[in-house]
């Protein structure tokens, strides 16, 4: 057999260790050798303490024990994101990881709901989402699988400490055969003729040769951006936030099974409940606020004393126009940045790994595969971009300049079309690749205050009274089922208490069927 492909991962943050754990678990060892280079002196950004349900698929795929991971990363469960004050002051909606009511006769649920509104019922569509009802009641349980029951209509994600998750993945990756090299990179050696990266030259004098490089160096994008010169595409005209201040506070008594995002005078503020602390942060635009004002606004909003000094992050929304160039792929922040409004940072790392695997070089890099990977990542980035812009654009707030600016800005054609069709008739495009699916779009459209002018004419095929009866029954069933669920905090402490040892867990009574 030919000699194995040497894969060198530069950077050991969330992206680096996800890549290392993913590749070492899913690629054959006799063909690939995985080495990760990182320096303890370089801090990690540790983006995205909140995740999407896809995270669970990734963990399952590489055979990670959920409870163990959750204990290690001090994780809690997440059923969605609450958006406060976004569309207008005083508003609150949840973007759930689940549907709002089941479809019927080929029609998405919201057309039937709109019909009942026209018929005189004034009820919130949130009442028909199991995930939202559970989230608002601070309850959690695993979804039931394999049945048409109401408590199978959602999925879940995690809130976790990303640095701890990375550390956990490091132990997994190293345990499965990935090597780690401690040290800083002094220079990069390229092939004179092809321009391919040949080796990383370490400060220690070591020369680390590789066939394929994965750039997980964060914002600096040492290989893809700096070395290979792949241009940056700036999206800040649509997503003007360029700073974040992050600060932890004490753990909440009542763990919410959702992330909270509150719109502010120059951006938005997150609150993420973990087992041992609460993550807080303010994402803002220096075009609409200065750093000290933002720090003051964040402090004032905390409610409990900060446990550390706020940490400042600088960024710009956008991406490298190609995520794979020559023999180098960038993952995570070195490939692009989209603010964590919809918890997409870790998803973008994960999906890049999943797109990369089937196309992974077996030897010399094949241009056809490079093109395909880049096309797939274009789709991923643009889908998320549009969805994020929607949150900013669709607002009626008049109290701060940033909201006026975003309301009036010229958005991408792909988004204009989606808004126009939803406004006219509640139509939502359904696409195969990339985030997000129609229930997500629905929750944001409606939550930000856009009520369709019309519903699908087929919804008139059923008598209004009958429809109202069906919906009442659905609402009741959801309430009843949610009442039976354990509290989220209780569930977490039983299932994945960070203070509990594995051994103690074994003696716990069976808690689920």
């Amino acid at each position: 057999m030919s000699k194995p492909v040497e894969v060198v991962i530069l950077g050991g943050g969330t992206a680096g260790w996800m890549a290392a754990a993913g590749l070492v678990s899913l690629l054959p060892h006799q063909r690939y050798r995985i080495t990760l280079v990182e320096s303890e002196e370089i801090g990690i950004v540790g983006v995205g303490e909140a995740t999407l349900p896809q995270m669970k698929n990734f963990n399952d795929l590489i055979a990670i024990d959920e409870a163990e991971m959750m204990r290690s990363a001090k994780a809690t469960f997440k059923l969605g994101i609450e958006f406060v004050d976004w569309g207008y002051k005083g508003s609150s909606y949840i973007h759930p990881f689940g549907i709002h009511g089941p479809p019927a006769s080929g029609l998405p649920f919201h057309h039937r709901w709109l019909r009942t509104i026209t018929a005189g019922r004034d009820w919130d569509i949130e009442d028909f989402s199991f995930a939202i009802a559970a989230a608002r009641a601070n309850r959690f349980d695993f979804p039931v699988t394999g049945g048409p029951t109401i408590n199978s209509t959602y999925s879940y994600a995690y809130h976790f400490d990303a640095s701890l998750y990375a550390a956990y993945l490091r132990s997994v990756a190293e345990g499965r055969g990935a090597s780690r090299i401690e040290g800083k990179v002094a220079d990069v050696e390229q092939d004179g003729a092809s321009g391919d990266i040949r080796a990383l030259l370490m400060e220690s004098g070591e020369r680390l040769e590789g066939d394929f490089f994965i750039d997980c160096s964060g914002f600096r994008s040492l290989l893809l951006g700096n070395r290979l010169g792949v241009e940056w595409e700036d999206w800040s005209k649509w997503l003007p936030c360029d700073r974040a201040l992050a600060v932890p506070t004490e753990r909440q008594d009542e763990l919410t099974p959702y992330t909270q995002s509150t719109a502010m005078e120059a951006g938005w503020r997150w609150r993420i409940p973990l087992q041992h602390r609460t993550g807080n942060g303010y994402v803002f635009s220096t075009g609409f606020s200065d750093e000290s004002k933002a720090a003051e606004a964040l402090r004032a909003s905390l409610g409990s004393p900060p446990l550390a000094e706020p940490r400042l992050l600088k960024f710009q929304a956008g991406r490298r126009v190609r995520n794979w160039e020559r023999n180098c792929v960038a993952l995570g922040l070195s490939s692009g940045f989209l603010e964590p409004l919809e918890s997409t940072s870790i998803y973008l790392i994960q999906i890049a790994i999943m797109h990369l695997l089937p196309l992974f070089p077996t030897g010399k890099v094949d241009k056809r595969l490079v093109g395909e990977f880049n096309r797939r990542m274009d789709v991923e980035y643009e889908r998320i971009r549009d969805f994020l812009i929607l949150h900013y654009h669709l607002n009626t707030r008049d109290d701060a300049e940033i909201w006026r600016y975003c309301r009036n800005m010229d958005v991408p054609e792909s988004l204009k079309r989606k808004i126009a069709l939803f406004r006219h008739r509640g139509y939502i495009e359904d696409y195969r690749d990339g985030l997000f699916n129609p229930p997500s779009w629905l929750s944001v459209f409606l939550g930000q205050g856009l009520r369709p002018e019309h519903y699908h004419p087929f919804a008139d095929g059923v008598a209004a009274d009958r429809l109202i009866g069906e919906l009442e029954q659905l609402r009741e069933e959801i309430r009843d089922r949610v009442d039976e669920m354990p509290r989220h905090a209780t569930f977490v402490s039983r299932y994945a208490d960070a203070h509990q040892t594995t051994e103690a867990m074994l003696h716990e009574p069976e808690m689920r069927l």
């Binding site: 054959p28 063909r31 089937p358 093109g371 069709l421 019309h454 004419p457």
Partner: protein
């Protein structure tokens, strides 16, 4: 705002009645008036429709019984199409149109096969496809009731075109739709709004929404501003079609035979009472007369009666929905009758129209979404068909040589590249064909992927061999357990019979 209260559908043959049936079924209960204006049929007694498995779903949705269809239209189940002579030196291959992805160890089975093939496996991919295996045995992959089946496949149909259209018409009329037979004399248009149509019988039809199912005539949409036709002639060299008929085959195959020849291709479609024959060709490579004279020889079947020549103009409308006028089927996009797509185009358009049925009579921004979806939908079918031409290996014949050299759309180039490099298939939002359909076509046309998904090598060699052999056994056993076409149809052996080869 005013709701759409009336719909006028102008068209002919199956597309007209499929559209009418679907619109009537969905909107009848809401009080919308649906009128069908039937133009003179373009079908002749020799015509046939080959239809993808999706037609069965449409029938179920419309409440049209399968047995009735098969009986009325002398129908025969069709699992796939057999492509012969598309490469001079290579054997024929079967392209099954199943919709169920075959299970592999978490990865598409193709990759296991490609690895095996590289390591000396001599068994072709078709033996691992339930669709192909049943097609070759003349059997129909019916679904078993006990759902422990590890593999499943689906089937489409061969139907006598006139009888099928007539059946649909009867079904629609029985459901109480208003219908008249007349031609379109003139239309009244105000900007992008169609006000009324004047029929050749002197009557005038007003409606909120006009649907054009008239085929290449484009009786309504052709008069709307901005609905220009974009030709795909540079991808599809065949500009003529001849339809003829021959005797019933002795034992009915479950596939169509699509044989390439110097000037185009010839399709053989078994029906219960006859065999339909269609030649699609380039009039500069062969003359109408030559084809008409030689069609029996080329198809290796005795043709009888008149052969009917028609023109083919492959292409698509820039905007199949303009104002309050929507084109469905051939009037939106015309493709050649390869890969059993003609009815599927009509069906796809109708189903998009149902999703986007306009909510108000005054403005219809739905057109934007419809036009976008239809462009992607038919573009994907076009790519699938164009791949047959692009990948032909009939060297030293000018028409076929040009096809190999032709520039294909970016979407198809990418599809071929990714398959050639890694046996990967790119699926689209509006895709008609499934991963295994593309795979069978590409491998059948002789693409040898350079590699496969590297994750395949995670499995031990022994496990890999076991998976491949297990799959082979399962397919063979399942295929043998399926009913033959004759058993499926419950028909007696015919008196008059011929053989296909």
């Amino acid at each position: 705002m005013r709701r759409v209260r009336s719909v006028a559908i102008v068209g002919r043959d199956a597309a007209l009645w499929l559209a009418a049936a679907a619109i009537q079924r969905a909107l009848g209960p809401t009080g919308v008036r649906v009128q069908a204006i039937e133009l003179t049929s373009w079908l002749s007694p020799v015509d046939t429709y080959a239809a993808l498995p999706s037609l069965g779903s449409m029938h179920r949705l419309l409440g049209i019984d399968e047995e009735l269809v098969l009986k009325a239209a002398a129908g025969v189940p069709m699992v796939g199409q057999r492509y012969s002579n598309w490469a001079k030196a290579a054997p024929a291959f079967t392209l099954a149109y199943d919709d169920e992805p075959p299970p592999g160890g978490g990865l598409p089975f193709t990759h296991y096969w490609v690895k095996g093939h590289k390591e000396g496996l001599r068994i072709g991919i078709e033996d691992f496809s339930l669709g192909c295996a049943t097609a070759r045995l003349g059997r129909v992959p019916v679904r078993q009731d006990d759902d422990g089946t590890p593999l499943a496949a689906s089937y489409g149909y061969h139907l006598d075109a006139r009888h099928y259209a007539e059946l649909l018409k009867q079904v629609v009329l029985r459901r109480g739709i208003e219908a008249v037979s007349a031609g379109v004399h003139d239309v009244a248009i105000d900007g992008e709004r169609m006000m009324a149509i004047e029929l050749t019988d002197g009557s005038r039809v007003e409606a909120d929404l006009f649907v054009d199912a008239s085929g290449a005539e484009r009786a309504l949409i052709g008069r709307m501003p901005g609905a220009e036709f974009e030709s795909w002639r540079d991808l599809f060299p065949c500009d003529r079609m001849i339809a003829a008929t021959g005797p019933r085959l002795k034992s009915l195959p479950a596939f169509s035979q699509i044989s390439a020849f110097r000037g185009g291709w010839i399709g053989l479609y078994p029906l219960q009472d006859r065999t339909a024959v269609t030649a699609v060709y380039n009039s500069r490579a062969v003359s109408d007369r030559d084809v008409a004279e030689q069609i029996g020889v080329l198809a290796r079947i005795a043709v009888s009666g008149d052969a009917v020549v028609s023109e083919l103009k492959q292409g698509v409308l820039a905007r199949p929905w303009v104002g309050n006028c929507v084109a469905v089927g051939d009037s939106a996009a015309a493709l050649e009758p390869l890969d059993a797509v003609p009815l599927h185009i009509a069906q796809g358009c109708v189903s998009h129209l149902m999703t986007l049925f306009p909510v108000t009579a005054e403005e219809m921004p739905e057109a934007i979404a419809y036009n976008r979806s239809i462009a992607e939908f038919v573009g994907n079918v076009r790519d699938f068909q164009a791949a047959h031409y692009k990948l032909n290996l009939r060297f030293d014949e000018p028409m076929w040589d040009r096809c190999r050299e032709m520039k294909v759309p970016e979407s198809l180039r990418r599809e071929i590249d990714v398959f050639a490099a890694r046996a990967g298939v790119i699926l689209n939002d509006e895709g008609t064909f499934f991963e295994q359909n593309w795979t069978l076509s590409f491998l059948g046309h002789g693409i040898e992927p350079d590699g496969y998904d590297p994750r395949i090598d995670l499995a031990e060699d022994a496990a890999h061999i076991q998976l491949v052999h297990q799959r082979l056994r399962t397919v063979a056993e399942l295929a043998k357990a399926m009913p033959t076409v004759d058993q499926f149809l419950g028909v007696d052996q015919p008196v008059e019979a011929a053989s296909v080869r």
